[in-house]
Symmetry: C2
Subunit: 151 residues, 2 copies
């Protein structure tokens, strides 16, 4: 066991990592978090998933592999597994196998994963809430921005 607590470690870590630096490990971590599937998986496991059989309850609950696949429309088995494995390795997601027939596997966000959920969910909500603003900005930009070119 370490002689310092997790809280102390985190305190010491303040300022030790900087994602702006290319060589800093936190840069790689930031890049991993900046992945659409990572974001969507975390949103789903944080309680943001909806769909047939998966209501948007708002409360985090374990989801089965197939539920995740349904929630993240368009995800391939390969990417889903790959994403889940990386999240599991990083301690953000816990994988639980139940020996039924056929086998049941559930995934749920760990405490660490949950601590990230607010931000990721915020990003997703932001994208949904400001879609129209962005669409408008694009239209204005693509139109040429100059008054003279407006009809």
């Amino acid at each position: 066991m370490a002689t310092t607590t997790a809280a102390q470690q985190r305190e010491l870590a303040k300022g030790r990592y900087d994602a702006f630096l290319a060589a800093c490990p936190s840069r790689q971590l930031f890049e991993r978090l900046s992945d659409k599937w990572v974001g969507l998986v975390l949103c789903a496991l944080g309680g943001g998933a909806a769909g047939p059989g998966v209501e948007a309850s708002g409360a985090p609950r374990p989801l089965r592999y197939s539920e995740l696949a349904r929630a993240l429309a368009g995800v391939s088995p390969k990417m889903l597994t790959q994403t889940l494995r990386s999240l599991e390795r990083d301690g953000l997601v816990a994988r639980t196998v139940t020996a039924t027939v056929p086998v049941t596997v559930t995934y749920e966000a760990t405490e660490l994963g949950l601590s990230l959920h607010a931000m990721v969910r915020g990003m997703k909500s932001w994208a949904e809430d400001h879609m129209d603003d962005v669409l408008a900005a694009r239209a204005e930009h693509d139109a040429g921005d100059r008054p003279g070119s407006a009809p």
Copy 2:
């Protein structure tokens, strides 16, 4: 002019977009936001940049192209320009050209960009603050997790 205000538009947009759906425009927007350079640029323009000549003031201020290039260590001119152009098009960043010799170009986050800043900054801070936790989780995972395989 539209007959509805931006606030009303946003109100109406509630529930109209869902990034979980592959075909939803907000999914593409979410994917764009889930880009390391987008995240880092937004962090820098939100006042999170530090370095030689660029102190981490915490207050958002316009940055020049070269300041951004220095802040985002390792970014290539191509990616920086590409990222800035896409952010400009989406109305998240404003580009200002001042006719000096040589020409001075500054970028700053728009109100829309600033509204996203909290989340992105949160992600970057999270990565820095929890780097040790993730490192520990990886070590444990890679060791095999099982007590029997520990030395």
